[in-house]
Symmetry: C2
Subunit: 225 residues, 2 copies
DNA sequence: CTTGACAACTTACACTGTAAGGTTCATTTT
DNA sequence: AAAATGAACCTTACAGTGTAAGTTGTCAAG
């Protein structure tokens, strides 16, 4: 029987790293929703349950994937100007989405509490502290910038440019007729415009952080509401 | 047989509105992942397949839910100051998440292309135009502010404060020892701090938009990197 | 050569969305 | 009043999911 041959081939072949590699591939090929243990097993040439020997559940596997992506992040050189360091750290994170677009929605909705993720988070908070902010402002600015970053990663990888997720879509003619602003803006919502738009918002936040540090804080503009 | 009684009770009872109401309830009670057509049917006192008479698929149902939430949004009074109008529109959207926390992750990852959502989008783009920005800047600022808003809705309803989604969590002792910055910042990551943090980031963006309109644009600060 | 541990496989279960087709009942037409 | 129509709901079934439990194959140490 060739089953014996097959079995001979399989024994001791799997490893956590191999499984993670294959998982990234399957996710990007089949989409996040299309990913399953059985499809992953098929890609690996083994049975679904074999994976459970290395990862006790899909949740554990997913966490390993997040950890690998976040674990690869390095803190920007402390010798660089602060604004540049912040920009690099943010762009590094953003690049994860770019490299794993299908995984981005999971990545962004994942609550990072694993040791590896906490280490990264700890480093980023240090970076804010280095900007001259106290604990409270560091925490809040991290959140604010993080909100922006998360939203951007989400949109850039799973947003408008990827086509509608709506079931009742609207034709181009109807769009032009009924929603002219959307029609006009659409030109700036595509993939080619991601960088420029992201830079705009990021510069806005970086500018404000510098102003905050210099005592010209947010909401201190005349005419504030 | 009491089946006849049961059936008598059922006929003509369901409606799209009823199903949507029940769906919101089930989602908030069971969580987004715990939602299913069978659980929804159970909540309605009918069979799963009965729902398909009113909604051809779960996707259609979900779209109806999003449409209902977005459809309820109204554009802020055009007579108010621009900054206030913008703030109100943003807070209105944010409130959706607050009212439907479990639905927030779906809501935020949903690509709004239904007519109702496009109408809202069209109105918001008008609001940006009213701020004195041209088509391009309106589009980009909408995106930038939208990124921030989406990230905030995500975090406030499915983020850190909801506990870890990680499988390998870290004890408080280890957190204090190995990740002191996270430990210190944690105090500002809770639900009670959402409003203040959100206001900070929002004010930063609003300030910058006003500056942009007045010709002191983002990235024009001295020392920009 | 035996033993034991480990890695992979097999089977089975409870769950999911939904396609296909059957049943029942209100309404409308004759 | 009787018949026909069609909407509303139900039943059954299938392919897919994660994974618990039990089984088998393989290799290394005694």
């Amino acid at each position: 029987m060739d089953t014996s041959i097959k079995k001979k081939r399989m024994r001791g072949r799997l490893s956590r790293e191999m499984i993670e590699d294959a998982a990234f591939e399957v996710i990007e090929k089949e989409g996040l929703a299309g990913f399953s243990m059985r499809k992953l097993a098929a890609a690996l040439g083994c049975e679904a349950m074999s994976i459970y020997h290395h990862f006790p559940s899909v949740a554990h596997l997913h966490e390993a994937l997040v950890d690998r992506l976040v674990g690869a992040l390095e803190m920007p050189d402390a010798g660089l100007p602060w604004r540049q360091r912040m920009r690099i750290a943010i762009e590094d994170f953003r690049r994860i989405g770019r490299d794993h677009p299908a995984y981005a929605t999971f990545f962004v909705t994942y609550r990072m509490n694993s040791p590896i993720c906490l280490a990264w988070l700890n480093g980023i908070l240090s970076l804010f502290r280095d900007g001259g902010f106290d604990t409270e402002l560091s925490a809040r600015l991290f959140r604010a910038v993080g909100y922006y970053l998360m939203g951007a990663v989400l949109d850039e990888n799973a947003g408008y440019a990827k086509g509608p997720s709506a079931v009742n879509t609207v034709s181009d003619e109807q769009l032009a007729r009924d929603f002219p602003n959307v029609m006009a803006a659409g030109r700036f919502f595509g993939t080619a415009e991601f960088d420029k738009t992201f830079e705009l918002g990021l510069d806005m936040l970086l500018d404000e952080m510098e102003r905050l540090r210099d005592g010209v804080g947010a909401g201190q503009l005349s005419g504030k509401v």
